[in-house]
């Protein structure tokens, strides 16, 4: 599903985001990406969502070679990658329903189909009863669940999450992680960046650790399970 081959990212001005990172994530895997802040977690996710392009090496995602993907093809790539952000990135001038519907509107689905799928996604995250509210009236945990519903509503094969529990208390964090596990069980590949070591240790999943832009540890390589 994701294949990094000797990938580097240098920023203008000499700062190195990633250097020579190689790994492979198979379909239907659930993987955690960890490391200190500034270790390159966000950079790695941005390369997968093509928010940035690598400066060296090859990135393959979902059968696409991103290194060679033309700019005008980027929107179609992003539709196959659900992205979840620490700050939710919701549109505050629209209702919860409209926020979740956005990916379907963007890909040109019909009215009825959109309604059906949005309600299914909101039901999945337990927020169907809030569909008409503006996101600002929701708690942080609820807003994050709206963000998750938006990421999964178009049923992408791959989900990326950048510090999805960063602002949440342990109970809410656990709820979010349970939700991710459920998606994983129905075949979605997940890559979750977090520095919440306690949480990921409990999940007992594969962990990639970044340090200063290099991949320093892959739990699977040490302990194939």
């Amino acid at each position: 599903m994701i294949h990094f081959d000797n990938v580097s990212k240098r920023y203008p001005g000499g700062h190195t985001g990633l250097s020579n990172v190689s790994f492979r994530i198979e379909p239907e895997e659930m993987v955690f990406l960890t490391g200190h802040s500034g270790a390159g977690k966000s950079t790695l996710l941005k390369l997968i969502g093509l928010l940035e392009r690598s400066s060296g090496g090859q990135v393959h995602v979902n059968g696409r070679n991103l290194t060679r993907l033309k700019n005008r093809k980027i929107p179609y790539h992003r539709r196959d990658v659900g992205m979840i952000f620490q700050d939710h990135r919701l549109l505050h001038d629209r209702t919860v329903f409209d926020n979740v519907a956005l990916p379907l509107v963007v890909s040109g689905l019909g009215h009825k189909e959109i309604g059906r799928r949005v309600r299914a996604a909101l039901d999945k995250v337990g927020l169907l009863y809030k569909e008409k509210e503006p996101p600002a009236t929701l708690s942080g945990g609820e807003q994050q669940r709206v963000g998750i519903a938006r990421a999964v509503v178009s049923k992408p094969p791959l989900l990326l999450a950048d510090e999805p529990t960063g602002n949440l208390d342990p109970d809410l964090s656990r709820e979010i992680m349970d939700l991710f596990s459920q998606f994983n069980q129905v075949g979605v590949t997940l890559l979750i960046a977090t520095h919440d070591i306690e949480l990921i240790n409990r999940m007992n999943k594969r962990i990639l650790t970044l340090s200063k832009g290099t991949l320093t540890r892959d739990s699977q390589a040490e302990d194939p399970a």
Partner: protein, 313 residues
Amino acid sequence: MSARRLLNAPQIWLQRHAQVALASLGRLFNNSLGSFMTCAVIGIALALPIGLHVILNNLQSISGGWDSGASISLFLQQTVSDDQAASLAEKLRLHQRIEKVELVTKQAALAEFRRLSGFGEALEALDNNPLPALLVIQPKTDYTSAETAQLLVRELGLLPEADIVQLDLQWVRRLQAITVIAQRAVLVLATLLGLAVLLIIGNTIRLEIQNRQAEIEITKLIGATNAFIRRPFLYTGFWYGLFGGIIAWLMVAISVTLLRGPVANLASLYESAFDLSSLGWLNVISLLAASAVLGLVGSWLAVGKHLSAVEPS
């Protein structure tokens, strides 16, 4: 499912466009004061050349109408007697290009002069009448254009009895020449103000893009194509142009209505049935179409320049 989606594709496309068009309209109404001011500025900019165009059209119809009223004054030689003048008048009445000949004899001229000038007693001192006889000639309506009237003037000037021939058409021709210059000026003005409208709309859309930067970034993250992101801004520009055009039309129509009374009054003083005309329906439709297209082009330019600068991070 994909087959059904394909079948419905044109319908969904139309539905989507209608939705975006209505949504951008709703956005304008949500910020009604700001949108109204922008539309009003566009309206004023458009109303100026349109109003001048209406004034020019009316001027042209005035000068066209007064062509037919043009008459030729033929002053005869001092030596020509009233009898000779009368027989010349008879002769000219048969001329194929002449409608009417009015004779002002030397006697009549003197009497009128005496009455109007107040020099009665001074005239008594003269032993003979110093005034010439005058024929006021009305050309036939087929020959009232400036060129044919000029031909008639030349012909009359060749008569042995003729002294001075005056065509009261000079001012009409001058007015026509001025109108042509004014038309050019209106065209130049319209071009400049059209550019101003482009800039106004372009700038408004640029600010709108800035205000909605976060929204644009998020929709790009979700996989929106540039066309999808561009669409609401293009519709916004279209609406600005259209409403600006409607405001321009209303301003011109109201101005014409306000002027109609006084103009009719003035025309009646000149014993004319002249009626101030406003914009025809065809003109209104072209005005609205042109302003909508200006809006579309203005926003297209702004969107092309500023949208690509917004990339998610």
